[in-house]
Each structure stands twice: as C-alpha cells, then as structure tokens.
Amino acid sequence: MPEHDPRILAFLCNWCTYTGADLAGTSRLQYPTNVRVIRMMCSGSVDPIYILKPILEGMEGILVGGCHPGDCHYINGNFKARRRLAVLKALLDEVGLDSRRVWFRFISASEGRLFADTVTDMVKELKQLGPNPLRDQWQS
C-alpha cells in the first residue's frame, strides 16, 4: 500500500509568512511539496469557512500563517485570527473532525527556516493522523 500523502492548504499572510515562504524558496531550503499556498492580506482575513470547506472536501491539513504578536501590518489581525481559530478548533473537535489538522503559526518574513520546518513537521504529523475520513466521501 502506498504511503499516505497528505495535502495541506496554507493561508499565508502577505506581510510575514508568505514572504517567509518566499525566503525559504530563494534560500533553496528543502521542504515537502505537499503544501498549496494561498496568499491572504492578513491572517485575520481568513474566514473559518475557508477552513471548514476544504476539510469537509477531504483536505488533510490547513496551515494559517500570520505575523508575530505586535508585528501585524493591520495592528491586531493576528490576535483576532488566534481567537477565531481557537473557536474553530473547538468546533472541529466537538463534531469529530480532528483539530490537529489545523495549524496556526506565527512566522515572520525573515523566518524561511521556520516555515520549511513547520511544513516538514506538519506533514509528519498528518501522516501519523492518516487520511481525512472525508477524503473519498461524496456524502458531505
């Protein structure tokens, strides 16, 4: 049986994590190719529905990347995202979707290494969790 290959959808803040991911690339850091990036203007603009929908469609993991506390380009979007994500994760656990599939990390524009390590760790954990039970489910 082929090894389970998790897919990750990443919503990255334009000012910090997206630039950090870019730095990882230009620094030629190696990290798994399982991640698909969507650039957001702020982690605070990630509506939880953007996370719920891919999870219900069978995506294995969602990574939300924002600026470190105090660094948000819009002053406090990352703090608001943290509250929203905490509620969303409680919701996922409540209904039996594993909240460990959703990661929220503060990664700055200079932390290319941290971005590459985060993706590596996330792929490792998602492999342990196994495929999303809804992956081949047409019923949702």
């Binding site: 719920l52 509250r83 919701l91």
Partner: protein, 371 residues
C-alpha cells in the same frame, strides 16, 4: 437591589398586566411588548401593545414561546432617541436581547427589558390541547409547584439553565425582574437593577419590600442539569465521529428554518444565500466529477458547521432552532454544547451583561497558547 411587591390585580398574571398598564399610562414606555392570548384562546403571541385595555388578555406566564421574542425587538428596538418600548420577556429572550444589543441590532436605550419568570414552554401543537385554567395555572407557579411534568416541555426547556431565581445570578440583567415563582406573598415581586430602579422611581401602587422570593424549586436545577447531560449524550455523532454526525444530518432539508428561528443569527444577507453558494453550472459539474457524485442541495454540513461557528458563542439555549426543525435534528443541543466549550475559552457568558464585549471583537496579547 430595590424590590417591590405588587398586590393589584387578582393573581400574578394580572399583577404583571397592571404593571404594564401603569407603565404605559405614566408615559415611561411608548408601548409594551407583551404575550397576549388570542381571541380563540388557542395561542399566546407577543403583541406590541399601545392601547392599555388589550392588556386584559396578557398571559405573561403562558407556557408557549413560538419564537424567541428578542428577535422581534430588532424592529422596534432600532430607534434612537425616542421613548423606550418595554418588553416582557422570558429569561432566554432577555439573554438573546442582551446579545443583540452587543451585536448592535437593538439600541440599548430603545428598549426596557422586563424579565418574567418562566417554568418552561411546550410545543405549539401541544399548547393547543392544553389551554389551561389560568387562575390555577398561575397560582401553581406562585406556589412553586412546576405545573407541567418535565416530559411535556420542549427539550431546551427541560434542560434550561436559567429559570429565574435558580441561576444564582446576583442582580438583574433586565431592568426589572417580574418574579412570581416562590413569591412570599403569593403575588408579584419586582426587583430592579439601578437603571430599572431610576426608570421606575415614583410609580404609584408599588410597595417596597425586603422579602425576596426564595429558591422556589429546590432540586429543579439538579434535575435540569441531569436532563442536559442526557440530551448531550443522546446526540449521535458528537462522540462517534463525523461520519455518524453526517448520518444524523443526512435527513436535513437545508430549509434554513433553524437559521430563521435563531434570535442571534442577525445578518440581513447570509453567506449561504449569496453567490458563493449559487455556483455556476460548470463548477457544480466539476465538483460532482471530483468524487463521482455530489449531494444536492450541496454543503449541508458546511451550513451547519458554519452556523455553529458563527453563533455558538452567543447561543442562549432557547432551543427555537430545534423547535423549528421539521426533521427533528438536535441542532439546539449541538449549539449549546459547543457554546459551553467555546465560552469557557474566554470566560464569556452569553446574555450576562450588555457591556461585556463579544469575544471576537477583543483579544488579549497573551492567551490561547499553544495555538
């Protein structure tokens, strides 16, 4: 906390009607939202009363709530700078009104909340067979005898956390609480918060008292807590995983009655009615192709999970969503269960205080770690 007894009128229901009438006559409120019995006697509905003689039909203690009356206040409660409307509400309706004030759907100055005791409500169909003898009914409530067996109540009422006088809350959220259950004089006892006290000052016919109603139903809160645990464990899927939950919700019609019935779900245009969920034909075919088939209407689970995510923090547990569901899905139980968990993250309580900010509007620099 100021407290008065009202002895006017025969029985507590009439005493509440008298109070409303006196408030109207004194010009303290421009109108009163009050549950009135319809001429047929087969239903009690909230009525915006301007003409005092209609209050003869007031049934503030009727065991019927066909909707959460707080959502009705988003109409008349939007006015700024005009005389207030007084609203006689149940505890769950007062809490919903408080959440709607925070959500800026009700002007705090436009309404005065009067919280009447409630011992639970029955489904509207059952109420039509009930048609109680009002004198006996209200006397039973005043005497502290729950007039209906638990199993006749709506599920949310069976597990209600906030019947007046039992929730241990100090002081009033509502301007006035109209307390009947366990009243030491067998009539109406009115307690006021500071704002309510100022508003009521000088009203004729009230007698100051220091005798407050005692816990009228020892053991009822324990009984209700047990009922809640039972309901929560009864939801298939909450413990058995997403597939079991999807099985449960496979009979959902996506009618969105739950959304309409929810007093807190206030958006004028819901995301689920927008263009995102009216996709292009090609997009639908593509989705169907990806997994071989696509259930229509689409996104039933996404609808419920998104609503949970939007509203659980503010959920007041009135259970109107569940009462409105034609398929009998346990939506209210899910909302309340998740609400308790998420509110605990922020030390928040819905309907406690209109000055308490909604958790999504504020943050602390250090909290919720690890993420």
């Amino acid at each position: 906390m100021a407290a008065w007894t009202v002895t006017a009128g025969e029985g507590p229901g009439k005493a509440i009607a008298w109070l409303a009438e006196t408030i109207l006559a004194s010009g303290r409120a421009e109108a009163v939202l009050m549950p009135l019995e319809l001429p047929s006697g087969r239903a009690v509905v909230p009525v915006l009363v301007k003409q005092a003689d209609l209050l003869q039909r007031a049934r503030p203690l009727a065991p019927l709530a066909m909707g959460n009356a707080a959502s009705l206040l988003t109409g008349v409660g939007r006015r700024k700078g005009a005389g207030p409307v007084a609203a006689v509400l149940r505890p769950c309706e007062v809490k919903a009104a408080v959440e709607l004030i925070k959500l800026k759907q009700i002007e705090p100055g436009a309404v005065v909340l009067l919280e009447a005791d409630c011992l639970g409500t029955v489904p509207a169909q059952a109420y039509r067979q009930l048609i109680p003898d009002w004198t006996a009914w209200e006397a039973a409530i005043a005497a502290g005898a729950p007039p209906l067996p638990m199993d006749q109540l709506r599920p949310a009422c069976r597990a209600c956390v906030g019947p007046s006088g039992l929730d241990g809350r100090e002081g009033n959220v509502a301007a006035l609480r109209l307390r009947v259950a366990g009243s030491p004089t067998g009539t109406l006892c009115v307690t006021a918060n500071p704002a309510g006290s100022d508003w009521l000052a000088g009203l004729e016919g009230l007698t100051l008292t220091d005798r407050l109603p005692a816990d009228p139903f020892p053991g009822l809160s324990t009984q209700r807590a047990a009922a809640w645990q039972q309901q929560r464990q009864g939801v298939k899927g909450l413990s058995a995983g997403i597939n079991a939950l999807m099985d449960e919700f496979s009979i959902c019609l996506r009618c969105a009655n739950c959304r309409r019935a929810c007093p807190i779900c206030y958006c004028r245009e819901c995301v689920f009615d927008g263009p995102t969920f009216r996709p292009e034909p090609d997009a639908l075919l593509k989705r169907a192709g990806r997994k071989g088939g696509l259930v229509l209407p689409t996104d039933i689970m996404l609808f419920h999970l998104t609503r949970l995510n939007h509203m659980a923090l503010s959920c007041v547990g009135c259970g109107q969503c569940e009462a409105a569901c034609p398929q009998g899905l346990p939506v209210a139980t899910m909302f309340r269960g998740l609400g308790e968990k998420t509110r605990a993250l922020f030390g928040y309580e819905s309907g406690r205080d209109p000055a308490e900010p909604l958790p999504f509007t504020v943050f602390k620099e250090a909290e919720l770690e690890p993420r």
